[in-house]
């Protein structure tokens, strides 16, 4: 979260703060490429959305042109790497207090280059109030969009594109947020928007929704009535009063009516029989805190009760709550959750959204960007550019109390290809990719955060080393270090900031941060060298394997797969050995696993694939779409396959006859989320009737998918390259995971 340069926190009311200076490299990024603006102006917060294109450096691999001379020289790399500029689409969302609106509009005007933009989509109650200001400042025509339509469009968008978007709130647990895995079918659901009033909307499909009810007792009632009762003017202050109060001093409880007899009658004495019932019977003074608390309970209970009644009438069990009454306030999430649990007897779940505050802006943006078809793509949250969910609970995070003067950001990258579920998942709705939930497991969290902190120096060094010709590599690497370090510190205090914290999310965050500072593939050179070496060994390895009898060969092939897996720069235990002893290689890996040979894909995977092909099995080989650590990428795999095909007739004919298909996974992570796979892969899996899934590597088979249940046979292979994890799983460092599973009939 970026702080404003000058402090604007003293300001109050509707007066606009013009004195702030905005740090342009943090907020309103990429304005020079921005188009399609949308703005959602609420009672106190403004959310601005825009679309930009981001130039990224990407490492491209390309075969050398060998025409004419087919001779291989020992020192020549197997392919060339070139760093190219690639343009990707990004959505930017910025949230700030209404007091900064003028300063922000000025800033945008000064930095906006694109003159094609003519309109700005606007929604929210304040859109009308600020219409003239926006038109005057930005010279854009304000197009007003319906509030609820925007809200629901935005809600559908985040539910589809952001894993762990929804969470349940559990008081007194650490952390209080419990994230939900995305249901493959998000419809139907109930959206209860608690603004000044309450709207209850049933959402049935992307375009069909219906206002089924509402209530006038909402956030405005809490604020308005609260201001009258306590003379406290601000909503946040009222909530703080409430969090300190005792409602039992103001409310008439069941035990106040029944005396002590409620116990023998099986009644809960603490139930509120009459809100404010005690203030009716005595002319005594009541504390502000107690009245605010009573009011909060009254309103939350009422909304929860109505939500349950509507959910029941429409047979819905998923109810999302949003609006300024909720907006990340633990106090209101707690009371609403309590009420829903009480009135539905556990049948309905109160769900909240991480990006709830952005829904209107996202929806307004989508309305305006319909011609770009944003809904046809998959999008991913960029962890490097997003602020994440902050706890506003004063006890939990005192620094967050001064929320004014801060900007909150969300950035989403358009993924090149749409992502879908692996069709072979046994139950997509209950699939959880990650093996250990670090949000939950404080010990594991501490261990891994420290682990990633300690590995940071090495990553920075490697990033610099990967771009020897670049003058600013060291400077960028340092910025990367700072950014990732800050993310790790945020996650120490707020492990729920980006949904469920996992080893995968820590790895992905690191990749996002590296990309942010133009280190697209720090391992490209290492991979190039390794692949060159391995290619030279391929034929020797294959003939050695062919010489073995069938059973020995199978064992050797599996060991080959696992040995290749040891060469992993991501695992600290391995990278320590590799860094300290450059000669460490094949023989050492072999020793750790008694005997073996191979380097990752070329000496491990391809011989295994070759064996499958030889016995008549068709193989789909899926590799990462983008780089992650030293994992082979799809484009590298194409070149490698081509080179192997040139020397191996089995691979050659298989490629030609399409019995061996190379595809991309859609992922750029060392881990793998089987619910977000490249659509092309999913189509192929279905078309070819795949009946065995082999998942290889610690990231894909242990950190993720260790417990994944598929509806066909599966094989999960990995070497445990982390002593802590080995201990957790009850084994030793460099133990082998070989998990063959047959689905139950």
């Amino acid at each position: 979260m970026a702080e404003c340069g000058a402090s604007g926190s003293g300001s109050s009311g509707d007066s606009l703060d013009k004195s702030i200076t905005l740090p342009p490299d943090e907020i309103f990024r990429n304005l020079e490429n921005a188009k399609r603006f949308a703005i959602d102006i609420g009672g106190s917060l403004t959310k601005l959305a825009y679309y930009s294109t981001v130039q990224h450096k990407v490492a491209k691999v390309r075969s050398f042109d060998h025409s004419g001379k087919d001779t291989e020289q020992d020192h020549e790399p197997p392919y060339e790497i070139s760093v190219q500029e690639e343009v990707t689409a990004r959505l930017h969302f910025v949230k700030f207090e209404n007091t900064y609106i003028e300063a922000c509009l000025d800033f945008i005007k000064d930095h906006l280059v694109n003159t094609e933009t003519k309109v700005i989509q606007a929604t929210g109650g304040g859109a009308y109030k600020f219409k003239d200001l926006i038109e005057e400042k930005l010279q854009l025509k304000v197009d007003k969009e319906d509030v609820m339509t925007c809200l629901i469009k935005g809600c559908n968008f985040v539910l589809k594109n952001i894993p762990h978007e929804a969470f349940v709130y559990q008081k007194d647990s650490d952390p209080e947020f419990r994230f939900q895995t995305n249901h493959p079918n998000i419809f139907p659901y109930l959206l209860v928007n608690i603004g000044s009033g309450v709207s209850i909307v049933k959402v049935e499909t992307e375009d069909r929704f219906e206002w089924i009810g509402g209530s006038s007792i909402g956030g405005g009632t809490f604020w308005g009535l609260g201001a009258l009762l306590t003379k406290t003017k601000k909503f946040d202050e009222l909530l703080q009063l409430a969090s300190r109060g005792q409602h039992t001093n103001v409310d008439m409880l069941v035990q106040d009516i029944y005396g002590g007899a409620h116990e023998t009658l099986g009644l809960s004495g603490n139930l509120i029989a009459s809100s404010f019932g005690k203030s009716a019977t005595a002319d005594q003074e009541f504390s502000k805190e107690d009245m605010a608390k009573s009011l909060l309970h009254m309103i939350s209970n009422d909304i929860g009760q109505l939500a349950c009644l509507y959910a029941r009438l429409h047979c819905l069990d998923r109810v999302y709550f949003g609006g300024f009454f909720i907006r990340g306030h633990p106090v209101t999430m707690r009371t609403i959750t309590y009420s829903i649990n009480f009135f539905s007897k556990g049948e309905v779940q109160a769900l909240f959204l991480r990006h709830e505050g952005y829904l209107g802006a996202i929806g307004a943006f989508l309305k305006g960007a319909e011609q770009d078809n944003p809904n046809q793509y998959s999008w991913g949250e960029n962890y490097a550019g997003s602020s994440g969910l902050m706890s506003s609970s004063p006890e939990l995070c005192p620094t967050q109390r001064a929320r004014s003067g801060t900007f909150d950001l969300l950035e989403m990258d358009r993924l090149e290809r749409p992502l879908v579920n692996l069709p072979l998942l046994l139950d997509p709705s209950s699939y959880v990719p990650d093996t250990v939930d670090l949000t939950d497991d404080a010990l594991a969290r501490k261990y891994w955060l420290t682990c990633f902190e300690e590995a940071l120096d090495g990553v920075v060094k490697r990033a610099v080393a990967s771009q020897p010709g670049s003058v600013d590599a060291a400077e960028r690497a340092e910025k990367f270090r700072q950014k990732y370090w800050n993310k790790l510190q945020t996650l120490r205090h707020q492990p729920f900031a980006y949904g469920t914290l996992t080893v995968r999310s820590l790895l992905d965050t690191r990749e996002h941060c590296l990309n942010e500072f133009n280190f697209p593939d720090p391992y490209s050179k290492v991979k190039q060298k390794d692949n060159g070496v391995a290619l030279k060994c391929f034929q020797r390895v294959v003939s050695a394997l062919d010489a073995l009898d069938w059973e020995e060969r199978q064992l050797a092939l599996v060991k080959g797969l696992l040995a290749g897996n040891v060469f992993d720069w991501g695992a600290k235990a391995v990278s320590d050995v590799l860094e300290s002893d450059p000669q460490f290689g094949f023989e050492e890996a072999k020793k750790k696993l008694q005997d073996n040979s191979g380097v990752d894909v070329i000496l491990g995977v391809f011989p295994f694939v070759r064996e499958l092909l030889s016995r008549g099995t068709e193989v789909i080989l899926a590799c990462n779409s983008g780089p992650a650590l030293n994992d082979v990428t799809y484009s590298e795999s194409l070149i490698v396959a081509e080179r192997i095909a040139a020397m191996d007739p089995v691979i050659h004919s298989a490629l030609r006859e399409e019995r061996l298909l190379l595809v991309q996974t859609g992922s750029s992570s060392p881990c793998l989320d089987l619910s977000r796979l490249d659509k092309g892969l999913a189509v192929l899996v279905r078309e070819r009737g795949a009946d065995l899934v082999v998942i290889e590597g610690m990231g894909r088979a242990v950190h993720t998918n260790y417990h994944a249940a598929l509806c066909c046979e599966s094989l999960k292979l990995a070497v445990i390259k982390n002593s802590w994890l080995a201990e957790r799983l009850g084994g030793q460092l460099f133990s082998v995971i070989f998990k063959y599973e047959v689905p139950a009939e």
């Binding site: 201001a227 009516i257 005396g259 009459s274 809100s275 019932g277 002319d283």
Partner: protein, 372 residues
Amino acid sequence: MKLKDAFFPWFGLDIGGTLVKLVYFEPKDITAEEEEEEVESLKSIRKYLTSNVAYGSTGIRDVHLELKDLTLCGRKGNLHFIRFPTHDMPAFIQMGRDKNFSSLHTVFCATGGGAYKFEQDFLTIGDLQLCKLDELDCLIKGILYIDSVGFNGRSQCYYFENPADCEKCQKLPFDLKNPYPLLLVNIGSGVSILAVYSKDNYKRVTGTSLGGGTFFGLCCLLTGCTTFEEALEMASRGDSTKVDKLVRDIYGGDYERFGLPGWAVASSFGNMMSKEKREAVSKEDLARATLITITNNIGSIARMCALNENINQVVFVGNFLRINTIAMRLLAYALDYWSKGQLKALFSEHEVSGVISCDMLTFIKGMLFTLC
């Protein structure tokens, strides 16, 4: 214990969170013989209760509700209704002790939460054994009983026609000849909602803590009023649209996308978020808004319960509706409007001397021992 076996005086007590409702049966067919035998204390109780309309500083007898020439368990007499605040219960028990009620060998039938709360005090201070009766049982039997006897020969149940229109609005009797199923909404300090399928088959559907106690409690805090009557009187003179944010305040008119009329309240007390508007409202406006807020909410919850339970007659009873025409008409209107005429709001009050008066069902709860 049945009443017909009990000695006079016949009392029924409904001890709620805010009010105590006392029912007293005054026998009118006392024979000379009986009169002779009647002990002095019993005589003085009868005389005290029937010749006064106020007791102490807070007790009130609702004379207009008195049921005359009633036959109860073979005895003819009048039924009197007296109410006083629950916080005066200790004084009431003390009076029972001073008047030596325990010597009369009578039974105090009691219902409501206070029957439990004060049971021990009755015993230790007044030497009186309470006969506790289930509150919901009493309520159901009460409404059926009162409907069967009628109100001094007139119909019990009625509804409002044209409730939104001050001039055309009229109360019409409703013949509850097919009472089941019915949704019974009892608005006391809090609200209980019951689905009644037959005389013996009913269930508590839900309840809400936003009831009469909330209205009066908030009014006390917001306006400094001290009685329910005062709060209602203020509300009758106020304008809630200054306090509430209406749909038209937000959308300039109807919100057509969702079919919401401009006059509907979008946010209760929503205008009070603004300092200027807070300074511009009167106590009467605030009282009115509180009344509208609580009433609308009860109507909304009742409507949802009726839909979920598939019931289309909703009977509203309870002390909140006492002398509360605004609330009754609002309930009638809200139920009719939002259900598009599918639901009917029924009330159980009587017009006495031009004033829409109290619902007596809550009193009746206290006398249900008569039907034991």
